[in-house]
Symmetry: C2
Subunit: 219 residues, 2 copies
């Protein structure tokens, strides 16, 4: 396939979730050569009768068993040597999901969650792609750009849990009192009335986001 206008295009789906205050990605272990035994971002070659969005949704369904979620486009990668044989254009999508929903399904040994700063050995240029996509995502999370922080907490959470995630993504510590005050005083969160104990220590209050206040809110 020399010098033509026909291109192989693949969709890569970065499935992300918050877990224990960390940002994690769901990867699968490759079962065939090349890169057999390495981990890769769930992916699918794009057929010319399929849109990128359909393709990304298909990957999401195949990989997680869930049929809907927050999925949106991220960056495209087109270096000539991405693949060993021919140039394959990768168009990445991000799915932000609820880890507990996925973990409730029977866990496949060849799929697993990894902290984005503790990645396993990855095939192709997928480590680079994860790093590039995540570094673009970080500031969106920490400023709640496109309501990105909200998407990572679809269900109830404690403020320390939110803060741990926030600090992990921001990569620097925040004063707990100020963090608490900000969300509570500005009514960005609503007290659900429930508490949750995590090992020893005082139980935390479960909040959920007040979407009326958080939509479009820059933090």
């Amino acid at each position: 396939m020399e010098n033509s206008n026909y291109n192989i295009v693949e969709t890569l789906l970065l499935i992300l979730a918050s877990d224990e205050g960390k940002l994690k990605i769901y990867l699968e272990k490759k079962k065939t050569e090349p890169y057999k035994g390495y981990w890769v971002i769930p992916n699918n070659i794009l057929n010319n009768q399929t849109t990128l969005e359909e393709n990304a949704n298909n990957i999401y369904l195949q990989t997680t068993g869930l049929d809907k979620g927050t999925i949106f486009q991220s960056k495209a990668f087109s270096a000539l040597d991405r693949d060993l044989n021919q140039r394959v254009i990768a168009i990445t999508y991000i799915a932000i999901t609820d880890k507990t929903l996925i973990d409730m399904k029977k866990q496949d040994k060849d799929k697993s969650w990894f902290q984005i700063d503790e990645l396993p050995k990855l095939g192709y240029d997928h480590e680079n792609i994860i790093n590039e996509v995540i570094s673009e995502l970080r500031p969106k999370i920490t400023t709640n750009y496109d309501d990105m922080l909200v998407k990572f907490f679809p269900s109830d959470f404690t403020l320390p849990e939110l803060q741990n995630f926030y600090e992990y993504v921001l990569n620097k510590p925040i004063d707990r009192r100020n963090f608490h005050k900000k969300f509570v005083n500005q009514d960005l969160v609503v007290d659900t009335g429930f508490k949750v104990t995590k090992g020893s220590g005082r139980p935390g209050t479960l909040y959920r986001f007040n979407l009326d206040k958080m939509k479009g809110k820059r933090i």
Copy 2:
């Protein structure tokens, strides 16, 4: 070309600039069928030996005669009916440029600047693409995300000029005194010592951005 994994990919380059307080896009008039006489976003089919970035840079050079500029990737479009004959995947890039540099070159009658809210008759789905890309860009400009506001003012400007552009993109008015104070008190701009007269009225002070302060600054 039924049901294959080979795809036609094109790069579209949205060349943008601020001018007279408006956000404008540089378009070219199509000289051949289909859509002859309609305006289109400058574009180029992607060869499988070329990266998307190279392709975007080539379009920039061909269209403007300038050989470097701020170019970055935006969204990809993959609807099956974008083109009349076959599915063509469009990967868009944005170039932010200095309109005066381009206007100094001899003006081609088949290329022209248009306000993004006064577009001419466009071919293909290009009107839709412009609207989608611009609506993603707007909030980046008005919050200076990725230093986007700075990129639109590479050279000197008056504060009213900056404010007009800002209000045009934000689509709502801002108090002039507060706008002025914000930029001057926080040392976000530096007085160049020059003034500029625009028709009648008191001359405006020419400022330039204080990059040390503006880099990463969220406004």
